[in-house]
C-alpha cells in the first residue's frame, strides 16, 4: 500500500462531509476544530478498512491516532506493516 493512498481515503471522507481538502490536510486537531466527533471517527475507521483493506480493532480507535492527517497516515501505515 502506498503512503499517499491513506491520505487520499481520509481526504475523500472529509470531502464527503463538506470539508475542504486543504483545510483537512492542514488541520492540527480534527476534534478541536469540530471536523470529527466520536461517531464520525468510527465512520472514518470503517472507510479506511473499506478503502485500504486494513483491519482496525476497537482498541485501535483513539483520539491520538486520529488527531490529524499525519497521525492517521502514520497509524494506517503501522497497521499495514503489522498485517503484512
Amino acid at each position: 500500500m502506498k503512503t499517499g493512498l491513506a491520505a487520499q481515503v481520509v481526504l475523500k471522507f472529509f470531502e464527503s462531509r463538506g470539508v475542504d481538502a486543504a483545510k483537512a490536510s492542514s488541520c492540527e486537531d480534527f476534534f478541536a476544530e469540530g471536523l470529527l466527533t466520536s461517531i464520525e471517527l468510527v465512520k472514518l475507521a470503517v472507510a479506511l478498512e473499506g478503502g485500504l483493506g486494513v483491519r482496525i480493532r476497537p482498541g485501535d480507535v483513539s483520539y491520538d491516532r486520529f488527531r490529524n492527517l499525519e497521525a492517521v497516515v502514520g497509524f494506517v501505515n503501522g497497521k499495514a506493516r503489522e498485517q503484512r
Partner: protein, 415 residues
C-alpha cells in the same frame, strides 16, 4: 468545612508539586523519571498510612510485571494475572481494610483517600485494558511507576489519563516550551480555583437572600452550583495537567470550553475529556464499530446503542465511588446511592440520545453554518439542563447527609 477543603486542596497540592517540578527539572534527563516516581512514592508514604502506601506501591509493581512481558511478546486475550492483582486491591479497598467508617459512612478525613484509591482503581482498569487492546507499547518499569504513583497523576479526583497518552506525550516539546506551557496551564487552573472561592462567598449571599424558593430562585441557585462545580473541577484537574506539562508530559486539556457547548451531546464531548476517552475506548467504540460494519445505513440506531453502552460503563466506574463511600453491608444506603446514580446516568443517556437524534447526520460544514440565535439557544438549554441534573450525582456520591467534606491529607500535611 466543605468550601475550605475544596478550595484549599488545589492550592496546597500546588505547594507540594512545585518543589518536585523544580527538583526534576534541575536534574539530568536520565534521572528525571526515576526521581519523579520516587517523589511520588515518598509523597504517598508521607500522606497515607503505611498499609495504603505499601498497597499502592506493590500493586503498581505487580500490575507492571503482570503485563510487561505479554505486551512485549504480543500475547492476545485478557491479562488474567493483572486482573487478579487488581481484584485483590479492589477487595482490600471495598472490604474496608484501608478505610474507616463512622457509622454507615466513611469518616470525613478518609474521603480524600477514597477518591485517590478509586482513581488508582480506575487507572489499573485502564492500564490493563490498554495492555490487551493493542494500544500500549511495551512499558518500562519507570513509566508504570510514574503513571501510578507520581504527583501529576495523583490529584484528588484527578482525570484518569491513558498510559499510552502519558508515555507517548513525554518529551514531545522542548524543555523551555514545556515549562512555559505548564506554568500557563497551572496559572489558569489556579485562577479558576480562586474564582471558585469567590463564587462560594457569593453563593452564601445568594442563599441568604432567597427566602422564598421559587422557580427562578431555584434556577439561579442551580446555575450557580453548576458554575461553581465547573470552576472547582477545572481548577483541580487542570492543575494536574499543568504540573505534568511542566515535567515534560504534553498532556491534553481535560476540558474544551464545556460551558459553551451548543448541545448536550457536544457537552459530553468537552467535559472530562480523558475520562470520556476511557469510557469510549472500552465501551463505545467496540459497540459502534461492530454495528457500523454490520449496518452502515442505520447510523442513528448505532449511535444510540453505543451511547447506551457508554453510559453503562460510566455508571459502573462511578459506582466504584458509591461502593467505597458506604460501609460494606449498609445495603439500604448502598441501594440509595446506586439508585440515584442509575437515575443520573439514565437522565444523561436520555439527554445525549435526544441530542444525537436532533444532530442526525449533520456534517461539520452544516454545523459551522448554524445561526447565532440557534447556537445561543443550544448553549442556554444545555447549561440549564446540566445545572438541573448535577444535584442528582452530587447526592449519589455524597458521603454524609450534611455534605461534610474532609480536611484531606494534602491540606493536613501542609498545615
Amino acid at each position: 468545612m466543605d468550601k475550605d477543603w475544596a478550595s484549599a486542596l488545589p492550592i496546597r497540592y500546588f505547594a507540594w508539586a512545585l518543589p518536585i517540578v523544580l527538583l526534576c527539572r534541575a536534574c539530568p534527563e536520565r534521572w528525571r523519571k526515576p526521581l519523579l516516581a520516587l517523589t511520588g512514592a515518598a509523597a504517598i508514604a508521607h500522606l497515607f498510612s503505611p498499609s495504603i502506601a505499601a498497597a499502592l506501591t506493590i500493586s503498581s509493581l505487580l500490575l507492571h510485571v503482570s503485563i510487561a512481558r505479554r505486551v512485549r511478546v504480543g500475547v492476545e486475550g485478557p491479562p488474567w494475572a493483572g486482573v487478579a492483582v487488581a481484584s485483590v486491591l479492589f477487595y482490600f479497598i471495598y472490604g474496608s481494610i484501608f478505610l474507616r467508617y463512622g457509622g454507615d459512612y466513611i469518616l470525613p478525613e478518609d474521603v480524600f483517600k477514597v477518591f485517590l484509591l478509586v482513581v488508582f482503581a480506575k487507572k489499573s482498569i485502564y492500564y490493563l485494558w490498554e495492555s490487551s487492546s493493542g494500544r500500549m507499547r511495551p512499558p518500562e518499569l519507570v513509566d508504570s511507576l510514574v503513571y501510578f504513583l507520581a504527583v501529576p497523576f495523583l490529584t484528588e479526583t484527578s482525570p484518569v489519563f491513558a498510559f499510552s497518552h502519558v508515555t507517548e506525550s513525554y518529551g514531545r516539546k522542548r524543555a523551555s516550551h514545556a515549562l512555559t506551557d505548564g506554568a500557563r496551564t497551572t496559572a489558569w487552573a489556579l485562577a479558576h480555583t480562586l474564582l471558585f472561592m469567590g463564587l462560594h462567598r457569593l453563593h452564601a449571599g445568594i442563599a441568604r437572600r432567597i427566602l422564598v424558593p421559587g422557580t427562578v430562585a431555584t434556577a439561579v441557585v442551580l446555575c450557580e452550583i453548576y458554575l461553581s462545580h465547573y470552576l472547582r473541577t477545572y481548577g483541580a484537574h487542570q492543575l494536574g495537567v499543568g504540573v505534568a506539562r511542566a515535567l515534560g508530559y504534553d498532556i491534553r486539556d481535560n476540558f474544551v470550553r464545556p460551558l459553551t457547548a451548543p448541545s448536550y451531546a457536544e457537552y459530553w464531548r468537552r467535559w472530562n475529556v480523558h475520562m470520556r476517552e476511557m469510557v469510549l475506548g472500552i465501551c463505545f467504540y467496540p459497540v459502534l464499530l461492530r454495528l457500523t460494519r454490520a449496518a452502515p445505513d442505520r447510523p442513528r440506531r448505532n449511535a444510540i446503542a453505543a451511547a447506551c453502552a457508554a453510559f453503562l460503563g460510566h455508571a459502573a466506574l462511578n459506582a466504584l465511588y458509591v461502593f467505597a463511600l458506604v460501609r460494606p453491608g449498609a445495603w439500604r444506603l448502598l441501594g440509595r446511592g446506586l439508585f440515584l446514580l442509575a437515575l443520573y446516568e439514565a437522565s444523561q443517556f436520555a439527554l445525549v440520545g435526544i441530542s444525537l437524534l436532533l444532530e442526525g447526520e449533520t456534517t461539520p460544514a452544516e454545523r459551522s453554518r448554524r445561526s447565532a440565535l440557534s447556537t445561543a439557544a443550544g448553549i442556554a438549554s444545555t447549561f440549564l439542563l446540566r445545572a438541573a441534573s448535577l444535584p442528582v450525582i452530587r447526592a449519589a456520591l455524597r458521603p454524609h447527609r450534611g455534605s461534610v467534606w474532609p480536611v484531606g491529607p494534602w491540606s493536613m500535611a501542609a498545615q
